[in-house]
């Protein structure tokens, strides 16, 4: 696969949300607005890229039977690193995303890419894979966030275009499932073409 292909595959062919259907919890929970979705995507991308790089470096020397625990430790380390940095420099974002920052550890996308890609490929390719999947994840989360914010609050990235409230259900829990469901339908329809 070409280097460019590695970066762009996350958008459509291996889109983490619509095709691989991984990392559903943060996808549903943090997309109450476009900005929240974007921030969650970036946080996940940070961990994804760094853990992909390190795991592709250490994979050759890690014994097979303990590779999963080792990968989990590496991923958890980067998540904790991210937690500390966010608490120090972006405390507001850290508070908004809350529980879902530590939960990046168990985001199946991160461990999935480590296992399926980074452990078998070169450092450069693994970094590009991290960027590609990360960008795909971030964009998807932002799109879901935009849809929910437009319908639920009548605004985009905090900019209000209608007076009063939107359809509140869309910023609450049910809206997350409904919007994701209908966007999947749309994605399937368009992908079939």
């Amino acid at each position: 696969m070409s280097k460019l292909g590695l970066i762009t595959k996350g958008l459509l062919k291996e889109n983490p949300t619509f095709v691989l259907v991984l990392g559903m919890c943060p996808t549903l929970a943090t997309t109450t607005s476009a900005m929240n979705g974007l921030e969650m995507g970036l946080a996940t991308m940070f961990v994804l890229i760094l853990s992909n790089i390190v795991i592709s470096l250490i994979a050759p020397v890690v014994p097979d039977k303990v590779h999963i625990p080792v990968y989990i430790v590496v991923i958890a380390t980067f998540v904790t690193l991210l937690q500390l940095l966010m608490q120090a420099y972006t405390p507001d974002v850290y508070e908004t995303l809350g529980l879902f920052i530590p939960l990046i550890v168990v985001n199946c996308i991160v461990l999935g890419r480590a296992e399926a890609f980074a452990s078998k490929n070169s450092v450069v390719d693994s970094a590009l894979d991290g960027i590609g999947i990360g960008v795909g994840f971030t964009l998807t989360l932002t799109v879901i966030g935009i849809v929910r914010e437009v319908l639920g609050s009548g605004s985009v990235f905090g900019w209000k275009f209608i007076a009063g409230d939107g359809m509140l259900a869309f910023v609450m829990a049910p809206g997350a499932f409904l919007v994701l469901g209908y966007l999947m339908v749309l994605f399937n329809k368009l992908a079939k073409r």
Binding site: L103, V105, V106, A169, P174, G181
Partner: protein, 199 residues
């Protein structure tokens, strides 16, 4: 009375899947059949309760006194992974029939974010159950974990029942599979929204 509030709140009002979005991946993954959904619910119930108690104790008697709470994430995930392994080994020895029923779900549970999510929530969040906000004590934490996982089981089994019917209905091509499943969960979540405010 307080325990009753915790139970109602954890099962219905703040349902772990339908309101807190934890453990959605396995929720979608194994709810195709009622029997597997029941098995998975049982395994999750067991692991969440056990993991919460163990991580609660580790946090209280190890991480907090040593000032290492920033290592919570990493310590908890390792404890949960080790615990799941141990449960698997012990179950195999003690109760082969139970192992038969739950065994295949156990490895999947380590990466079920519901387990880590509940464990972290219990030691970091303040709760109010009809009285002043406070951190949970061990007894409350155990009841909360058990009730939360029962809520997981309830949502999963309800959903599996609906999904078995769904598989026999005529669904438009683009909706087939996961899209219609997500829309169904959305409607279930709407129904559960009706519980909000009762506690």
């Amino acid at each position: 009375m307080e325990f009753l509030l915790i139970i109602v709140s954890a099962i219905f009002v703040n349902n772990i899947v339908l309101a807190q979005f934890l453990g959605v991946c396995p929720f979608m993954g194994v709810s195709n059949k009622l029997s597997t959904a029941t098995g998975m619910s049982g395994a999750v119930c067991f692991v969440i309760t056990l993991a919460t108690v163990v991580t609660y104790l580790i946090n209280k008697f190890f991480l907090v006194p040593l000032g290492l709470t920033f290592l919570q994430t990493i310590a908890f995930i390792l404890v949960i992974a080790a615990l799941v392994q141990m449960v698997e080994i012990v179950l195999k020895k003690i109760s082969p029939s139970l192992y038969q029923a739950l065994g295949i779900f156990l490895p999947l549970i380590t990466t079920n974010c519901a387990v880590l999510g509940v464990a972290i929530n219990v030691v970091t969040k303040e709760f109010t159950f009809g009285d002043a906000a406070h951190m949970l004590n061990l007894g409350e934490a155990t009841v909360y974990a058990l009730a939360t996982s029962l809520g997981y089981g309830l949502a999963m089994i309800l959903f599996a029942g609906i999904r078995e019917q769904l598989s026999r209905s005529n669904v438009p091509e683009a909706f087939k599979g996961l899209p219609i499943a997500f829309i169904t969960v959305g409607i279930m979540a709407l129904a559960f929204l009706g519980f909000s405010g009762i506690v």
